[in-house]
């Protein structure tokens, strides 16, 4: 029985091994073609270090981990952008809740805040990125559909008022709820932050935000070394990696150190008021108590920590 089988299968075996060989060759070719197809990934693999790949979520980093991460990021900025920067990690000051208020009677749409944000936060130069958009609206309506963010004429125009919009640091932030990996969260002082090293870039938060406050890094930001702001924070203005989401962080690397946001400092009209609402003597506290104040899209229940008011 066995002999018979062997004799029959001998010639066929040749056929089989030929097929096997062909399949092997096919598989090898296919694999080679695949490797060639995904070759652009190779240089990415070189730049992605194991430390970066394995880095844990911000909240799980020990003090020592954090030091190592910050040092690594500083070194990366030096080698990739040629700039010596200092990346800090200031934590919220206990008893602080930051809010912003904008005086619509005063704002004249000059856009200094937009520009200041652009520079302070190391935004990509070519796309002129910024966390702030200023809407030019016809007087007599609050309908944003009538608004225009790309006006190019001298300001203020007649019959127009100007409404800067940036992240509203919502108390019920939909962007935080939707993030599948908890890469974005609300800190104790009310600032909603993003861990740029944990975000997977799904842009669900961008879809969820009702104020168009989030930006995605469609490519790695390009900033000339001389223009890089060296005073950086891990959760704020350090140069963001490609493929992650970012947003306004109330300049936490400044405000947590007792300074004012860059957009406020740049504003020539004094339309911007920033402060700690828990401080009974703060200007924002007084404003919220005494002025007619409103928030954007109140019906959505996002509860912004960003207010608009006007002089009566």
């Amino acid at each position: 029985m066995t002999d018979q089988q062997t004799t029959i299968s001998l010639p066929v075996l040749g056929e089989v091994s030929r097929r096997t060989a062909m399949k092997g060759a096919g598989a090898t070719l296919g694999a080679a073609a695949f490797v060639a197809a995904i070759a652009p990934l190779r240089h990415l693999g070189e730049s992605l270090t194991a430390d970066e790949f394995m880095q844990r979520h911000y909240k799980e980093l020990s003090a020592e981990d954090k030091r190592a991460v910050l040092a690594r990021l500083e070194a990366e900025t030096a080698s990739e952008y040629g700039a010596e920067v200092r990346i800090g990690d200031l934590r919220p000051i206990p008893g602080t809740k930051f809010v912003y208020a904008i005086n619509l009677s005063v704002c004249n749409g000059n856009g200094a805040c937009v520009e200041a944000c652009h520079r302070e936060n190391n935004h990509d130069r070519a796309t002129n990125q910024s966390y702030i958009r200023v809407l030019e609206m016809p007087k007599g309506t609050m309908d944003m559909e009538q608004g225009n963010t790309t006006y190019q004429h001298p300001v203020p125009a007649d019959d127009r008022f100007y409404m800067p919009v940036q992240c509203q640091q919502c108390d019920e932030p939909p962007c935080v709820d939707v993030c599948p990996v908890e890469a974005t969260w609300k800190e104790d002082d009310g600032i909603v932050v993003v861990d740029y090293n944990w975000c997977i870039g799904c842009r669900y938060c961008e879809a969820a935000c009702p104020y168009h406050a989030r930006r995605f890094n469609w490519k790695a930001p390009e900033v000339p070394a001389a223009e890089i702001n060296p005073d950086q924070g891990y959760l704020s203005n350090r140069i963001r990696p490609q493929g992650v989401v970012e947003k306004c962080h109330y300049c936490l690397h400044r405000t947590r150190a007792g300074r004012l946001p860059a957009c406020l400092e740049a504003c020539p009209t004094g339309a911007r008021v920033f402060g700690n609402i828990l401080d009974p003597d703060s200007e924002v506290r007084w404003l919220l108590k005494n002025k007619r104040v409103f928030i954007l899209k109140e019906h959505l229940g996002t509860q912004p920590a960003f207010f608009y008011f006007s002089d009566d």
Binding site: Q5, I8, S9, V12, V16, R19, T20, G26, G30, A33, A37, I38, A39, P40, L41, H43, L44, F53, H57, R133, L135, M144, G147, T149, V165, P174, D177, V178, C179, P180, V181, E182, W198, C199, I200, G201, C202, R203, Y204, E206, A207, A208, C209, P210, Y211, H212, R215, F216, W218, K219, A220, P241, Q242, G243, V244, V245, K297, L300, G301, T302
Partner: protein
Amino acid sequence: MSDAAIKNQTDVEEPALLTYLGFLRRSLWLVTEGSLLYYAWMMALTAIALVGANAWAHQVADGMITTNMTDYVSWGLYIANFTFCEGLAVGGVLMVIAAYLYDDDDMHQVVFIGQAIAIAAIVMCTLFVTVDLGRPDRSWHLIPIIGKSNWPISMMTWDIVVLNGYLLLNLHIVGYLLYIRYRGKQPNPTWYIPFIYVSIGWAISIQTVTAFLYCGLGGRPFWNTALLAPRFLASTFVSGPAFIILVMRIMRVLGVYAAPPGPAQMLIRVIRIAMIINLIMMFSEFFTLFYAGGDHAVAGTYLFFGLHGHHALVPWIWTAVCCDILGTILFFLPGAMERGNIRIAACVLCIAGVWIEKGMGLIVPGFVPSTLHQLVEYLPSLSEWKVSTGIWAFGLMLITASLKLIINVLTGRLHQRPSRTRRRPPRSWLTQRLSR
């Protein structure tokens, strides 16, 4: 006598794992084996998939700037396809319901087609989400425990859980039944019937969760409608069955497998109802949008009629409406109940209609106008088309290969070889087959 003795002996000796590995090895051999047409088809698909892989690699290396998405329209063709494929995955559950809840014998014979399509469709879903990530290298952050899952708050986390659960369920059911058939044994109901019931409920939940992904966003009026989940389900029960009917037809034409006429007819009856419900809901949505007007109507106006000189989506959506209506009419013709061109045309039209209506026609208007009412339009870039087509090609490869495997097992062409040959070198089973 001695043969039987050896057989018994080896039966006892061979560990299940070996049999299983043998099954996998032989399956792999089988799906890389076929006619010239099969090779040509698979190679063409491979080539397309490779073009897609290449475009994706560029996207990862250079950034998603290679797509036409922007901060205004931050989801596009990928998420549109993801939504459609999810519907495809769920559509097959109709066959499962008919086969197992209603004990339809004919359906029992073809239910595997729906399951094979479901498996491929879920793989495609996963790929479409992956290519949409800005940082695919960090996808491990999504894995519970190892990463950090925002469960149960984030609908996307839910979606990932239910999708993978559905994949595992289907892999288990199909895998188990095939393996048992391969070994020439009777399946043990306790090993698959409970999973079947779970998978039915699960399928419905997938569609619901995906709809929640969009309709849970208060800041996007176009999506923020309770009708979204039921509409998803209705359109799923159109596109899924239509796709299955097409696959059955192709298998018949190629002479691979001739399905009985009953299942297709039953599917068409379901499509008729589902399509009518879908159209009613579409009309209801249309009415609510435009009669009351206001915020909600803006995106709808943009979609159907264009807004302030922007009308990139207008041709898309009216194509979809025409396809839907024409397809529905065709499905209601008596000719649709017979095998013929009417049925095929109806299926193709409805699939195309749903693909647009549920894909580009749903995702993009969610972003136009933006939440600050700016009008920035979106049409996919060449790179996005390449990646998407590549994923579809890969999905079709999976469907082809799994159907080939399933048919060979079901028709008894691939079965566990007699145990006495098991001791031979690995390729002997084929030697034996070829020498027969």
